[in-house]
Amino acid sequence: MAALRLGVLFSTSGDYGALGRDCRDGAMTAIEDLRGACSVAIEPFFGDPAASSELYIELARKMLQEHGCRHVIGTVTSQARKDVIPVIEKHDAQLWYVCPYEGFEANPNVIYTGACPNQHLLPLFDHMLPTYGRRVYLTGANYIWGWEMNRLAREIVVEAGGEIVGERCLPIGDADVGRIVAEVAERRPSFILSNMLGPSNHAFLRAMRHLGRRDPAFRPERCPVVSCDLTECELPEIGLGLADGQLAAASYFDSLDTPANRALKAQVAARFGPERRVSSYFATSYVTARLCVEAVARCGTDDPVQVRGALAEMETPSPLGPLSVDPATNHAKLPFLLGEISGADFVVLQSRPAVAADPYLIRRKTAARPPSAQPQLRIVS
């Protein structure tokens, strides 16, 4: 078959550039790996939309219309994914989305290999509420990820008989965290959920370190900051050591000691130097690009319908464990890991085996049922 034209569309500059660079580098590493080692030649097209919605749409359109791509691995934020989906749908192409997200989506033209809430937030709170307490402070980036993650966290906490002691969102890129820290100091939560992104989160974690020095009640061992999107790639930007003890949920950490991960890390060290850590963004993007190419190779065509069909049959060993995509939801089965920051790494405190994604949370035990349509009979005396 002709070379697979693969779009790689991540925002590698701008406020959340570190995440995008890891996603891009992961995909690039996979493409380099597969060069010559696979029956399909790969012709990648890279684009950096610099965190701009307009550029995301424009670059996606270019990849599909001008470069003839039918597969795009990309977008970092949910906002960007939702911006790009109509373009993908219009061309009947396939988007491969690799970042953790807030769920409530299952588009036939998207393969989701990042975790959704039943794979990150729910198991995280299963651990946090009994361990640290039920008075929770919520922070987030002021867009769909922050809003929805906080909404869901509130629902879980209230159902568990706990209390949300405060909630504040900051625009992406805003590092003015003084008011949030002051509120945390005053309201004394059991722990803090941060759904902030990039510079806001970095500033917040540094400020929490200062607060913990003034008042030991706010040290991470007593009142940790937890998140579902903080990875190794941002630790140098925060300042190594400054966020030690804080927690994060992910489906992968660099510190995993498995043969598949040792192999990936050896490649990364050879290509980027021994200091480079592999984040879940990097690893997921790496695995996803490989999965895409292997599925195309199996079909002998890049036709998205056939590729999805082939994907349904595949289970690939990977640094994240055996990876498969559920054909009903188009979401990957993913493990849950809870990591504690230590220098440039996360120490794995807890892990759970891979579970299928439940993007609309229909199987959550306490989810509300709509009012029954059947007539409700009452005994009248």
């Binding site: 588009n107 033209n109 993007p359 609309y360 949370l361 229909i362 509300a368 709509p370 349509a373």
Partner: protein
């Protein structure tokens, strides 16, 4: 704050000619937990169903077995046309939400949640209207009971009304029911 809905185990009926539209709708409904059935023939009133999606482009009046105001389940109209007659048909059936065709995957969940909530709200409002109508209908009884108290206790209208309210509360009756029972007993005494 309204909790996240789960439709697990509920039954959705999709009334539409089979094809790409029904394929997409069934896929999304199943992801939301529904058992979904697509067909192009009328619904029977005794069928088990929790929500109905109906093609408003080609739908006809016999497709749904109930009078619009009495529909027992949320109704979602599927519409490609902009023709006023088809919009009117959807409205006349009592559609609680709309999904535009061709169906975008992302349009399904919002419409089903909206229709479910709207239907529950409408049902609550209708029940409230019935209760209020009943009270309005019985208002002359309250007036008559107050008049009777004013005469019996030689008090002002406000005092008589206060007395009636206290009696109603003590007997755990509505004001109207208390008034009716007072009038009935004084009628018996008179008779």
């Amino acid at each position: 704050m309204k909790a996240t809905l789960s439709f697990l185990g509920q039954r959705a009926i999709i009334l539409h000619r089979p094809g790409d539209t029904t394929d997409r709708l069934v896929r999304q409904c199943v992801l939301l937990g529904f058992r979904a059935e697509a067909r192009w023939e009328p619904v029977h009133v005794a069928e088990r169903m929790d929500i109905v999606l109906v093609d408003a482009d080609e739908g006809w009046d016999g497709l749904l077995p109930w009078a619009p105001a009495e529909r027992p389940v949320p109704l979602v109209a599927l519409l490609a046309s902009e023709a006023p007659g088809r919009i009117a048909w959807a409205l006349d059936q009592g559609a609680d939400a709309l999904i535009a065709k061709p169906v975008a995957a992302s349009a399904v969940y919002p419409a089903l949640v909206m229709a479910t909530r709207r239907r529950a709200e409408t049902r609550e409002l209708n029940e409230r209207i019935l209760r209020l109508e009943e009270r309005v209908r019985l208002r002359p009884l309250v007036h008559a009971a107050v008049q009777r108290f004013m005469a019996a206790y030689e008090c002002s209208e406000d005092e008589a009304y206060g007395r009636l309210r206290r009696e109603a509360m003590q007997s755990r009756l509505t004001l109207e029911q208390a008034a009716a029972s007072i009038l009935a007993s004084s009628r018996r005494q008179a008779g």
